[in-house]
């Protein structure tokens, strides 16, 4: 048990307080509300609880997994768990008392530095909840800065991100959401031209996009900036050891899902919202920011800074209500970036692009299967099947214990039998052969 009080302790403490029983302390609570009936099971001891949870975890199916669509199977280097399990990191709070939190503060500074380096941006905050909420907060910032209420987005952003963004605008009809149509799965200058207009607060691009395709962010960015519109890019950090950065595309805000930096899938969280921006926008960022400064003796130290943006100071005028963020996930990502370094991140991107290229090659060798789009892709791609994608997925899951990917019909009815397939650095040639064999035999 986690309570240290002995009967003797309780007696002494009640006596010191000057009451005879605990009930005397809670007289401010109307008695009819005190001690209600609870219909709860008996408490288990640790041995029993361990057995119960172990059994539950085994009810989840261990599959060979080719699902991506915003969450990616990653290898977590062993050193990361060893470090983030240290109680000094794990059980600390937000670093409000800077002098006794220099460990957390310096790691956040290093996190911000790593994210700026990866994204090619000037500023990063200390983290948001996930990629979707980061993007939603960037869109909110754009609306706040411009006073405009129209948001244009690429039709190939993650549909969950769009849903979250609309929720972040409280589903209010005041705001106009316009999708930029696609050509061959991507945004083109021609498709962009149909929707761009000066009344928009921002344009949102995702690259690699939801279909895995790498967008021509530089040309798109140029067109967007020419209209004086805020350019927001959502990018997968695992791609940025190799691919063009949002900074090179001219992004004003760049966001991403940091789960890609070695975090486990864990059925959706905790993940890591990466949020970066260009220098002039630093005071528009939501969330915490750590800065380097000096102490009384001129020695280097770190503090939470630019707090005048935040809820505990500005209350209803704050840039966001965010308080708790994903600090430990940010630490994990920082250690990941440190262990990999620039060469490791390049190799990671190559391993992803290579695995996906190999999977696409093998799958499209199967008669009746073709690639849906022609563009360059990173670690996932869409194929069109000659049969119902949901049924094939179900069949192969049951027979072979392989999850072949995400059927797109529910999200994009016009795409019919399309399947989004992902392969990351965790996949080998043998895994891909197993996938191709299973698909071929079960078509």
């Amino acid at each position: 048990m986690y309570l240290p009080h002995t009967e003797k302790d309780k007696e002494e403490m009640l006596k010191a307080i000057g009451v005879s029983s605990f009930e005397d302390l809670v007289k401010q609570i109307p008695s009819k509300f005190l001690n209600p009936e609870y219909n709860l099971p008996e408490g288990l001891d640790e041995v029993q609880a361990a057995r119960h949870i172990q059994k539950l975890s085994e009810k989840n199916r261990k599959t060979l997994n080719f699902l991506g669509a915003g969450a990616y199977e990653r290898y977590t280097p062993a050193a990361i768990n060893a470090l983030i399990s240290r109680g000094e990191f794990l059980t600390a709070y937000t670093p409000y008392q800077a002098e006794s939190s220099q460990g957390t503060l310096q790691t956040i500074y290093e996190y911000q530095s790593c994210m700026c380096a990866l994204y090619g941006m000037d500023c990063s905050n200390a983290s948001m909840y996930d990629g979707a909420t980061s993007l939603a907060e960037a869109a909110r910032a754009a609306v706040r800065i411009t006073g405009k209420k129209k948001i244009i987005y690429s039709a190939a952003i993650n549909p969950q991100y769009l849903k979250v963004m609309k929720t972040y605008f409280a589903q209010s009809e005041e705001y106009e959401f316009i999708a930029c149509p696609l050509e061959d799965g991507k945004v083109t200058l021609a498709s962009l031209d149909k929707v761009l207009d000066e009344r928009a607060a921002c344009f949102i691009l995702q690259t690699p996009n939801f279909f895995g395709l790498i967008e021509d962010g530089e040309a798109i960015g140029k067109a967007v900036k020419e209209k004086g519109i805020i350019f927001i890019v959502s990018a997968d950090p695992a791609s940025l050891g190799m691919l063009k950065t949002p900074g090179e595309m001219g992004a004003d805000f760049a966001t991403g899902e940091g789960q890609s930096l070695g975090l486990p899938l864990s059925y959706g969280g905790p993940y890591l919202g990466i949020f970066t921006c260009a220098k002039p926008l630093v005071r528009q960022m939501p969330g915490r920011i750590v800065g380097m400064t000096t102490d009384k003796d001129g020695k280097r130290g770190f503090v939470l800074t630019l707090q005048a943006r935040e809820q505990h100071i500005r209350r209803d005028k704050a840039s966001s209500n965010i308080c708790s963020n994903e600090a430990l996930c940010a630490l994990s990502a920082t250690i990941y970036a440190t262990l990999l370094g620039p060469s490791g991140l390049r190799e990671l991107a190559e391993a992803n692009a290579g695995a996906a290229a190999a999977a696409a090659e093998k799958l499209t060798e199967i008669p009746g299967i073709k690639k849906t789009f022609s563009g360059n892709f990173f670690n996932e791609f869409v194929i069109t099947l000659p049969c119902d994608a949901d049924m094939l997925r179900e069949k192969i899951l049951e027979k072979e214990n392989i999850d072949i990917g995400l059927p797109l019909k529910t999200l994009f009815p016009e795409m019919g039998n399309a399947l989004l397939v992902c392969a990351t650095e965790t996949k080998t040639e043998e895994d891909i052969d197993r996938l191709a064999k299973a698909v071929k035999e079960n078509l």
């Binding site: 060893a82 409000y96 220099q102 929720t167 800074t305 360059n376």
Partner: protein, 480 residues
């Protein structure tokens, strides 16, 4: 001498921690035109360099494991290692959020069981586990209320009433959810004024947000009348559950008239704060609000668990995928090991500990309230300290040098020079006695030699830091 070099300053070109030798790398064929021009400015370190770097940094932190951490409103209780171990089981961590329900039955059953237990503890009718943190939960609560009023054609309800003792997240959330905030000044005893509330309630009121117990550590004794007034005005009562550690197993918010409330897994339910997160901030709701919660919700049919994606009455989705499941496993593990009575003991011992600290310190540090407190108390420096020019900040810094984390300072805003102390239930009497001794010494030493206390801390990695310089010339990343 403390080594405060950044990782990038320890970087040596050519050093590596992790490499990827996967043969498929050779298959990568991305045209150079799509690639970045320069490699990112990241450290190059061996694995051991990195392990030593981060281990040394960790040693510069105070944490619950190493120090008493009475940070008011944050519930810095012990974080059981059992929770950590089971949440790291591969069976849980390897599940993709888009896995078919049939492949995720273990996780779904866990979430379903956790939902049932939390629903029972709160006395509500249902719960969403999607929000990633407390403030995210508040936002979820308010957009749920918004969807409810929209469905009932009451779109003229645009105001959220918040007492001036509330956490900053309450008014910030109201703005984010598209409401305007109406503030109410607290009564001299720290409670909400029923008269003032009734003056502000009206056809424009959507929600009244109330922290119970409030940020002064006091229970709203008139909660029944408050709830009645709120409901008569056609509005909803939202309870900020940041302080639920005072009520768990003792009072069901559903019975006191609350329509919607959030719970912080990283406070009441013992999941670690991780230096600022991740948390999880479930929203429990009464029946009339359930269709308006964000989706998906976990449901059970015929012994099988599944995600229900709701319909157009839902307020949407506040996060990609389900929620912070990895955190929720920890909260589940915590609840599994507690019976109903044992959950009540959490609140009882939290209240006992706070009152013990209050009783032993109030002669030197006057308490804002004259009553017994719930799970936390708000003290202030006495006149003798103020006359010497000593401030709450000095007391906080003095505590660091005595090996204690500081309480929450300067909050709630309605108390001048506030020191908000929440010991939590997992601290022993001996630890509290040491803390009480340190607080009394700080008082005596401060009176005898105020300048020394104003210079504190002297025994930390750094002395007081120049925050003005940090904000004027922001240096928030390394550069080449």
């Amino acid at each position: 001498m403390i080594d405060n070099r950044l990782s990038i300053e320890k970087s040596v070109p050519g050093r590596r921690g992790i490499t990827f030798k996967n043969s498929l790398r050779a298959k990568a064929a991305i045209p150079a035109a799509l690639c970045r021009k320069e490699a990112p400015l990241l450290p190059e370190m061996s694995e051991f360099d990195a392990v030593r770097h981060f281990t040394k940094l960790s040693s510069l932190n105070f944490s619950v494991d190493t120090h008493f951490y009475p940070l008011g409103s944050c519930t810095m209780k012990y974080n059981p290692r059992f929770n950590e171990e089971v949440s790291a089981l591969k069976g849980f961590t390897a599940v993709h959020p888009l896995a078919k329900d049939s492949a995720a039955q273990g996780t779904l059953e866990m979430l379903y069981d956790l939902s049932s237990r939390l629903t029972e503890l709160t006395g509500m009718d249902g719960i969403t586990l999607q929000p990633a943190a407390g403030a995210h939960g508040e936002f979820t609560g308010l957009i749920t209320a918004k969807a409810y009023f929209r469905a009932h054609g009451e779109t003229e309800r645009v105001e959220v009433i918040v007492p001036d003792s509330a956490h900053g997240t309450n008014p910030a959330t109201a703005s984010m959810a598209g409401f305007s905030t109406v503030n109410i000044a607290s009564e001299p005893d720290g409670r909400l004024s029923l008269t003032k509330l009734k003056e502000k309630l009206g056809p424009k009121t959507a929600v009244v947000m109330l922290t119970v117990p409030n940020t002064l550590g006091i229970f709203e004794s008139r909660i029944e009348e408050i709830a009645k007034a709120v409901h008569e005005a056609g509005a909803l009562l939202y309870m900020d559950g940041a302080n639920f550690n005072a009520l768990i197993g003792l009072v069901k918010p559903g019975e006191i008239g609350v329509d919607l409330m959030h719970l912080n897994m990283h406070k009441t339910f013992s999941t670690p704060h991780g230096g600022g997160g991740p948390g999880a901030g479930a929203i429990a709701a009464k029946k009339h609000l359930l269709p308006h919660l964000p989706m998906p919700l976990v449901k059970k049919d015929n012994g099988k668990y599944f995600c229900d994606y709701g319909d157009s009455r839902s307020s949407g989705q506040v996060k990609s995928f389900f929620g912070n499941t990895g955190v929720l496993v920890k909260a589940y593990a915590y609840l599994l090991t507690h019976s109903a009575k044992e959950t009540g003991d959490i609140a009882r011992m939290a209240i006992l500990n706070a009152n013990y600290v209050l009783a032993k310190l109030k002669d030197l540090y006057p308490c804002y309230s004259k009553e017994y407190c719930m799970h936390e108390c708000v003290l202030t420096p006495g006149h003798d300290m103020i006359e010497k020019g000593l401030k709450t900040l000095d007391i906080a810094k003095g505590l660091l040098d005595k090996g204690f984390h500081a309480p929450t300072v300067y909050f709630p805003l309605i108390v001048h020079e506030a020191l908000m102390i929440e010991p939590t239930e997992t601290e022993s009497k001996e630890t509290l006695d040491e803390f009480i001794k340190a607080m009394r010494e700080i008082h005596d030493e401060g009176i005898a030699d105020p300048d020394s206390l104003k210079a504190a801390p002297l025994r930390q990695a750094v002395k007081r830091l120049d925050e003005v310089q940090a904000a004027r010339k922001p240096n928030i990343r390394w550069q080449a």
